[in-house]
């Protein structure tokens, strides 16, 4: 495992191009594009103000830089550094800006969600989509980039419009049976649209691409409902995380509940493995390493070292009691992610902030619990292999795979509290972000890993 040197960034703006060749970072009002392999600066662009949002186009040709405060969007071309484009939303304001999947249109959402403006880079045409709904996830492109579903609110009723991204033609428009629609999400195969209601009502509606209602699912009433939703990559499972600290998985044939995963405070499932991160102040004494224990790699003297230990069951997991008086209580499943092969599901329960739960979808049971010493900030699956990277705001990177669990200190001078991380599309590198700095972590290939394991 190798680490690059450290670069600066602002606003956590750091993205790898979809083709995996370039790394774009924003530092104040400057946009820096680097080569991922050599980390040499290829281009340097200067924006009009501090960038608040940055995004690559799907073909890795253009970079969009949005400055919400000034309602400005600037687009830069990689092939023609001289080419420039500036979109001004004027007094309408700007709250969100994103590429369409074809990489030739930009969708800007104005303030107060008055409308969505579709700007084209190919022609002068501008289209407006009225009545977009301000909600958790009001807009979702299908994975193949052909369709976009948009949540709308008209006459105090929720609607969903499906547009064809090619020519922005309305394909379907239907009213949904929701109190207050909270989000829409396409299944990865683009044939089913999951629509979920606000947290006051537990309700998931599944619509076919042609607007037919396939199924409705509701687990309970009255209590706070859905908090997050995740499709498996195979479109076979829909995981619904809710405020009752449970994940329910629906199947794609009957759309009925397949299983319910609870997140108990005491893990007593004999088949699950609980990895507990143990911190050590002193350096050395790494003799008692086993396969499952961490492999420390040249950590600096000042960093505390940590390793994972397998706890004998049952294990009591620290639970934070949520403040029930306040809105949006810190309880329930806030984030879920399926591994790329749809075999594993990682979940995080908000009132157990230092734990990540990994479930085996093949056997439908708990596989592992990672108990960290600090609250988990972010976790993400390798886009190629079933391994999970997570960070806790400490200067360590944690990786789980079915074979075991390791913690690696980030070997930089001073501390590097990892706030978030993202995988390179090849699965061979990780971008680690602290508040102001970023660092690339290169993971060894299979063969090298084999060497390490055998030595």
């Amino acid at each position: 495992m190798n680490f690059s040197e450290v670069f600066k960034h602002t606003n956590q703006l750091c993205r790898v191009s979809p083709d995996g060749k370039y790394l774009a970072t924003c530092v104040q009002y400057r946009l820096v594009v680097r080569d991922v392999s050599s980390l040499q600066i290829l281009h340097l662009y200067t924006c009009l103000d501090q960038v608040t949002c940055m995004e690559w186009s799907s073909d890795s040709q253009f970079i969009l830089c949005a400055m919400y405060k000034r309602a400005l969007v600037q687009v830069w071309s990689l092939e023609q550094p001289d080419w420039h484009c500036k979109i001004d939303e004027g007094s309408a304001g700007l709250v969100s800006s994103r590429w369409s999947p074809d990489g030739r249109h930009i969708l800007n959402t104005t303030e107060f969600h008055l409308r969505v403006t579709v700007w084209s880079l190919c022609s002068k045409s501008v289209s407006y989509i009225k009545y977009p709904k301000a909600c958790q996830k009001g807009l979702d492109f299908s994975r193949d980039g052909r369709y976009v579903a948009l949540a709308e609110r008209r006459d105090c009723k929720d609607h969903v419009s499906v547009f064809v991204c090619d020519d922005w033609q309305l394909l379907r428009h239907f009213e949904t049976d929701t109190q207050d629609l909270a989000g829409v999400e396409w299944s990865p195969n683009g044939c089913v649209l999951a629509v979920w209601d606000t947290c006051l009502e537990y309700r998931v509606l599944l619509y076919s691409l042609d607007g037919r209602l396939l199924s409705t699912y509701s687990a309970y009433e009255w209590c706070l409902g859905i908090k997050s939703i995740a499709w498996s990559a195979s479109s076979q499972f829909l995981a619904i995380g809710s405020y009752d600290e449970k994940v329910r998985i629906l199947n794609h044939i009957t759309w009925k509940k397949l299983i319910e995963f609870e997140h108990p405070a005491t893990v007593s499932n004999s088949k699950a493995v609980v990895y507990k991160e143990m911190e050590r102040r002193h350096v050395g004494g790494c003799d008692d390493l086993t396969l499952h224990h961490q492999i420390t790699l040249g950590g600096s003297l000042f960093n505390t070292q940590s390793k994972y230990e397998i706890c004998p069951l049952p294990v009591q997991i620290p639970v934070v009691k949520p403040d029930s008086d306040r809105a949006n209580p810190k309880v329930g499943i806030s984030s879920m992610a399926f591994s790329v092969d749809s075999r594993y599901l990682a979940t995080k329960n908000d009132n157990m902030p230092s734990c990540v739960w990994v479930w085996d979808i093949q056997r439908l049971r708990l596989l592992a619990v990672l108990e960290q010493t600090a609250p988990v900030r972010c976790f993400q699956w390798d886009p190629r292999r079933p391994r999970l990277a997570l960070c806790t705001g400490s200067s360590k990177l944690y990786i789980w795979s079915p074979a075991g669990c390791i913690s690696v200190p980030v070997p930089v001078e001073g501390s590097f509290p990892v706030q978030s991380l993202s995988w390179h599309s090849s699965g061979q590198a990780l971008i680690l972000l602290s508040k102001e700095h970023l660092c690339l972590c290169y993971l060894e290939t299979e063969a090298e890993r084999g060497d390490v394991a055998s030595s």
Partner: protein, 573 residues
């Protein structure tokens, strides 16, 4: 107590016959007698002796005592003997009565104490009764209180329910109010949005613009198309295409899955049928079950076959049939398993005790054995140690080494000797066998010679037969020849005990016989005489005779020789 009282009553009963009258008398006479001691003149005086006597006599007789004086001569003198007897009797009676009195008194005491005790008991029980009564009233009171409580709680519950209802009503009314307000606000909000939008459009915002250096081509390189009905139709078509593709792929997956499941089902069914086939039942000798299940199983087979056909069709009714048959099979399997379980448990229960006993016994035995062995081993070790020490104590020089070497040599010599002996024995055996062979060869030579002679004879006969003047003789000899050969065979075989072959038979047969003899059996001519070997000979005889009967049929068919007899005996084998 009861016994003693019973005894005493018995005693009194026994004595009452005699004593009852006397008791009255004693009672009446007691004060009198006392008085008589103190005041002698009270009853009897000098003057009224006779009266007294007569009176007493009367009294005595009335009480059943013998008379004091002769009745006949009234007023006569007293009979001293009878008086004394009576006196004695009376004294006895008195004493007895005194004793009885005593007993009665103790009895009375006892009964009094008993009474006391019973009274105590009674009072105690009364107290208990009182207490329990009090308790029961307390409990009643408590029950009443509890009932009151329940009632109040029920009231509370009712109130709470009402409250809940009320609150629910309030909530729902508020919710509806809230929803209404929300709607109103949202409507206002949307109106506001609309207005804002309008304003934005009306204002002709100068800033609202896009500045592009030059427009870029589409990512797919095509030019954008005009929006027409055609594109709409195309979009629709594409959408349905994707949906169709999805459904098709899903259907394919399901088909594959279905096929696999069907295969599994079929296999399960087959296995079930094979497990539950009637053959097994009959093997186990469950005749009753067999007779019951046979027709059923036949039906099963039919159903199975039919279902196999219908599996491919996968119709509704076929599915039903299949599931039914599977269910039936399953039930049978379950029954069977249960039966087996029962048997297994029975067997286990039965064998467990025996096993334990045996194991314990054998265990003890083995322990004993092992102890013995350990002791032996210890002894051995000790002796070895001693030897070692001896060896260590005396200097280990070349002599001892030579001695040791000698020891080894001696051992080796011993071994060599043994080997030599063995070798000698083997040699002897070989010698014997060689002798046998030579003898056999000699005999063979003899036999060959005889055979040659025979052949010569036969040739001579043939030659003679060929001559034209012996035509009549030829027919005779043709008739007689088998008989003649048999005649020759039978005595010979009897004589030689079958291994020396009949001369008429082919030359191969004696050779096999020889082989037998040389390989398996000792060829000594004396041996057939010994009894145990005889069986062996007969065995070989059997084989031979079989060969003979197979190769020359006429032998067995003709006069019953030993061959034929043995042959018929051996044939069923």
């Amino acid at each position: 107590m009861a016994e003693s009282s019973l005894e005493s009553s018995n005693m009194s009963c026994n004595s009452s016959r005699l004593m009852y009258p006397s008791r009255n008398h004693t009672h009446s006479s007691m004060p009198l007698s006392k008085q008589s001691y103190s005041v002698l003149s009270a009853f009897c005086s000098e003057g009224n002796i006779t009266q007294c006597i007569s009176y007493i006599n009367q009294e005595m007789s009335s009480l059943g005592f013998p008379a004091l004086c002769n009745e006949l001569d009234s007023g006569g003198d007293l009979k001293a003997v009878s008086v004394l007897n009576n006196m004695y009797e009376l004294l006895q009676l008195h004493r007895r009565s005194l004793r009885a009195l005593e007993e009665l008194e103790t009895e009375q005491l006892k009964s009094a104490s008993h009474l006391e005790h019973l009274k105590l008991c009674n009072s105690r029980l009364k107290e208990q009764l009182e207490q329990s009564r009090r308790e029961s009233t307390g409990l009643c009171e408590r029950e009443r209180q509890l009932q009151m409580k329940v009632k109040s709680l029920q009231n509370c519950l009712k109130n709470e329910k009402e409250e809940v209802q009320k609150l629910q009503n309030i909530i729902s009314s508020r919710a509806s109010q809230y929803n209404h307000d929300m709607k109103r606000k949202e409507r206002e909000f949307s109106k506001l949005k609309e207005r804002l939008n309008q304003l934005l459009i009306d204002k002709k915002d100068k800033r609202l613009a896009i500045e592009v250096l030059n427009y870029v081509g589409r990512s797919d390189g095509k030019r954008s198309l005009w929006k027409t009905g055609k594109t709409e139709a195309r979009n629709e078509g594409e959408m349905y295409q994707t949906l169709l593709n999805d459904y098709e792929s899903r259907q394919k997956e399901l088909l594959v899955e279905n096929a696999e499941l069907k295969k599994v089902l079929q296999q399960m069914k087959k296995e079930m049928v094979s497990i539950l086939s009637p053959r097994k039942h009959s093997q186990k000798g469950e005749t009753i079950d067999d007779s019951l299940e046979l027709p059923g199983s036949e039906n099963e087979e039919e159903v199975c076959d039919s279902s196999r056909e219908t599996l491919e069709l996968s119709c509704e009714h076929a599915r039903e049939q299949l599931t039914n048959s599977i269910r039936q099979q399953w039930r049978r399997l379950k029954n069977h398993m249960e039966k087996l379980d029962n048997q297994a448990s029975l067997v286990q229960n039965g064998s467990l005790g025996d096993n334990e006993v045996i194991s314990r016994k054998s265990h003890e035995e083995t322990v004993e054995k092992l102890k013995l062995e350990i002791q032996q081993c210890k002894d051995f070790i000790q002796t070895q140690q001693q030897l070692w020490q001896q060896q260590l104590s005396c200097p280990c020089d070349d002599e001892t080494a030579a001695l040791l070497n000698d020891c080894y040599m001696l051992e080796e010599k011993e071994r060599l000797k043994e080997e030599w002996k063995l070798f000698d024995e083997q040699k002897k055996n070989f010698e014997k066998e060689r002798r046998n062979f030579t003898e056999a060869a000699i005999r063979l030579g003899h036999e060959r010679k005889a055979f040659e002679e025979d052949r010569a004879m036969w040739l001579k006969h043939q030659f003679l037969n060929m001559t034209p003047f012996l035509d009549r003789n030829k027919s005779q000899s043709a008739l007689k020849s088998p008989e003649a050969s048999e005649v020759t065979v039978a005595p010979e075989s009897q004589y030689h005990n079958a291994f020396s072959t009949p001369k008429a038979a082919p030359a191969k047969i004696p050779s096999t016989a020889d082989l037998y003899r040389t390989l398996r059996l000792l060829p000594d001519h004396g041996s057939p005489r010994s009894q145990p070997k005889n069986g062996n000979w007969q065995d070989s005889d059997v084989i031979l005779s079989r060969d003979v009967s197979a190769k020359s049929g006429f032998l067995g068919a003709a006069d019953c020789s030993i061959y034929s007899l043995v042959g018929t005996e051996s044939s069923p084998n």
